[in-house]
């Protein structure tokens, strides 16, 4: 028992962290810095860099500097809960930029009832988008279901009759497809779903699934997964002789590693774009380039720009709050609620071309996407911004 005591003492000693002082606005960010889906974690580096950028360019907001704190949630529920608790209780952040659907669900009460802290989720899951039940949770972009709808609408226009779904055996894979089916999205569009094929997210060879696709021979296949597995899918598709042009990926497949890895086997693969790509000719990109002069950019891709845009939102709402209070930082709980209220009032907010104009009445920002296709080894836009109605 003595030893136990020794341990507990060590605990309290060990956990001394840098806390936020007056005149500082701590902002919490956690994402998958390691673990699955790590190849899109530009979304977590983005906000951090933007807030740093604001600190350096404008000396923060009305004299108060941001303290962006980036932690690793590892895409696992307990880790994310732990990190959230640390950000909220120890670092006393005023807003959290979160990550996974599971974690967000686990934290729903903390966010909306116990702590009441504005929370920007990276997840596009419809399960956490509910202005009434979850007044403090905000998304930025179309839900996965919206994306399915957009993709299928486009496919319909291209004269598709039959489709199939491919996804991993995890929530991020199965849930959106299920929802889309339950919402009868394909039926409404008059599309026949030939199969809803699931595979183990970790499996190394997907030839069997692709053989099934080949047998069923749908006009389009929608992939609800990220680049890592999409690469395997397209690789094995080429192996069994299914053209990549049949495949559609969600917004997390807008990645240049796909053509990079597969070369001509990826020609014609289509993905959804929900925000501006890296290097797009937009005002926001100018800021990033300016920032990149002094700093190393972790990820140069469309997810970093998404994160950057989210940073812009956070900065916008915080500065609006401070305008209201005349530049003085309110008591933290009040600060958090005020931020949330301002957030809901955002209307047609322009992120400098990073995204379509954002309106947060429904906590979703925007629900538009456009189709990009791999032509000659790089993604090219082949459609206009499509809006779900």
């Amino acid at each position: 028992m003595k030893k136990l005591f020794r341990f507990l003492v060590l605990v309290s000693l060990g956990l001394v962290a840098i806390s936020a002082h007056a005149g500082e606005i701590p902002v919490g960010i956690y994402g998958t810095l390691t673990g699955t889906d790590v190849d899109v974690n530009g979304m977590s580096y983005g906000p951090k860099d933007y807030l740093t950028y604001v600190n350096e360019k404008f000396g923060g907001v009305m004299g108060h500097k941001y303290v962006p704190i980036l932690l690793d949630g590892k895409n696992s529920i307990p880790e994310e809960v732990k990190v959230f608790k640390r950000l909220v209780d120890v670092d006393k952040v005023v807003v959290v930029n979160g990550w996974s659907t599971g974690g967000t669900k686990a934290l729903r009460d903390q966010i909306n009832i116990l702590v009441k802290i504005p929370f920007q989720a990276q997840s596009f899951s419809i399960d956490v988008l509910d202005p009434v039940k979850y007044p403090y949770i905000f998304l930025m972009g179309p839900t996965y279901e919206d994306q399915v709808l957009i993709a299928l609408e486009w496919a319909k226009q291209k004269g598709a009759k039959t489709i199939a779904f491919l996804h991993a055996d995890i929530e991020y894979g199965r849930a959106p497809v299920r929802n889309a089916m339950e919402q009868k999205i394909p039926e409404k569009l008059g599309l026949k779903v030939l199969a809803d094929i699931e595979y183990a997210g970790v499996s190394l060879d997907l030839t069997p699934q692709l053989l099934r696709i080949k047998e069923l021979n749908p006009d389009y296949v929608y992939i609800q997964d990220s680049a890592g597995n999409t690469i395997k899918i397209l690789r094995d598709a080429a192996k069994v002789g299914v053209p990549a042009s049949k495949f559609f990926g969600n917004n997390y497949n807008f990645q240049h590693i796909i053509p990079g890895t597969l070369g001509k086997d990826a020609e014609g693969f289509k993905a959804l774009q929900v925000n501006a790509d890296w290097g797009a000719n937009i005002p926001m990109m100018k800021e990033i380039e300016e920032f990149a002069k002094k700093h190393e950019i972790a990820k140069k891709d469309a997810y970093y720009t998404k994160g950057w845009a989210q940073g812009k939102i956070i900065h916008e709402v915080v500065s609006r709050v401070l305008k209201k209070t005349g530049g003085k930082i309110p008591e933290i709980g009040q600060f958090r609620t005020m931020i949330r209220d301002e957030w809901v009032n955002l209307e047609n907010f322009d992120t400098g071309g990073g995204t379509p104009p954002l309106t947060y009445k429904n906590h979703q920002g925007h629900s538009e996407a456009r189709i990009v296709e791999i032509k000659g080894g790089k993604f090219v836009t082949i459609s206009d911004w499509i809006k779900t109605q």
Binding site: P78, D89, V90
Partner: protein, 342 residues
């Protein structure tokens, strides 16, 4: 023996004192530290279970996480579908997991060592598959979420309430383990671990006792999983993967296989290790610019911890501590003798 007992009583009092005062000594870290402590306590319960199976009966089980999953799902299903209170759900979770454990343990009739370990590995994967695909029960990959019961009009997953609920529970778990192991059953376990053939020949029904061991171990796992579910208020199949099982194995090893307090030290150690590394790395941030080196470093240290312990301290922390204790005791005795005491 007597003096030993009284000394223990003293320790208990110290312990209770610490237990009651600890939460008030944390200031702004309260919730965060309490969270760690609570997870640690859950870990202690799960690890004690695994210790009975692995440390005392000598059966390596790679499916502890899956068993915890069974417990967690039991709680979630009972409280959402049936709306039963937690003082029914937790034991139920334990019981059902125990049954599952016994079924999973049946291969031990013919298997031992590595082959049995492989059977448990298969169990782990099969159970994960069931969690994911028995949708009518588990709602598949989306998982279930529960509204935790209220204690004194406060939700149970509030860090404070949970602390005062789970830490005593962990203590009871350890106590039960200790009692069990100084009776017939415990001796039978150890005998099976040391030399199963001889055990059978002197009249121990080895298979039966292996099953009992599986049952008890999974009972602990089930309760731990149930608590986890109440604390997280959500359970989905991604929560209890093989990696979690490995964490638990690590807890048992680091703490000390086949020792009572081992799981306690082990759980605390394994829960805190990442925190310390995190702190260290945050201090060293300028050197390691890329953030994922945090995680990499955690992996490496974790691995080295296991390897080093098994190479140089197979009996783990508890051995180290008791050695310390012995040294202190000896030194004390010397002092007394010099004073011409006794």
């Amino acid at each position: 023996m007597k003096c030993f007992k009284t000394r223990h009583c003293a320790y208990y009092f110290i312990f209770v004192g610490i237990f009651l005062l600890f939460p008030f000594s944390l200031f702004k870290y309260t919730n965060y530290v309490l969270f760690l402590v609570n997870m640690g306590a859950i870990g202690v319960i799960g690890a004690s279970g695994l210790n009975i199976l692995k440390g005392y009966t000598g059966v390596i089980s790679l499916s502890q996480a899956a068993f915890m999953g069974v417990g967690a799902y039991t709680v979630a299903i009972l409280s959402t579908k049936e709306g039963l209170p937690f003082w029914i759900n937790l034991p139920a979770a334990g019981a059902i997991t125990a049954i599952v454990g016994v079924v999973a343990g049946t291969p031990s009739l013919r298997l031992k060592g590595f082959y049995l370990a492989m059977a448990t590995l298969a169990t782990q994967f099969l159970l994960e598959y069931v969690f994911k695909n028995w949708e009518s029960m588990t709602r598949g990959v989306q998982g279930l979420f529960i509204t935790p019961p209220q204690i004194f009009r406060v939700h149970m997953n509030n860090d404070w309430v949970f602390y005062f609920f789970v830490v005593p529970l962990a203590f009871v778990a350890v106590l039960c383990t200790r009692n069990l192991l100084r009776t017939k059953v415990g001796r039978a376990f150890t005998a099976i671990r040391d030399r199963d053939i001889a055990a059978e020949l002197i009249g121990i029904n080895v298979f039966k006792y292996k099953l009992i061991s599986f049952a008890i171990s999974s009972f602990y796992a089930g309760v731990a999983g149930g608590l986890w579910c109440y604390y997280m208020t959500i359970i989905n199949p991604e929560a209890f993967t093989l990696l979690v099982s490995i964490d638990y194995i690590a807890m048992v090893i680091v703490g000390g296989m086949g020792t009572i307090m081992g799981p306690v030290y082990g759980a605390i150690f394994i829960i805190l290790l990442p925190e310390f590394i995190q702190r260290v790395m945050e201090v060293l941030q300028p050197i390691f610019r890329m953030t994922y080196t945090f995680e990499a470093f955690k992996h490496i240290v974790f691995g080295f911890t296991i390897v080093i312990f098994l190479m140089f301290e197979p009996k783990g922390l508890s051995e180290i501590f008791s050695r310390m204790g012995r040294r202190i005791a000896k030194w004390r005795r010397k002092e007394v003798r010099e004073k011409g005491g006794y």
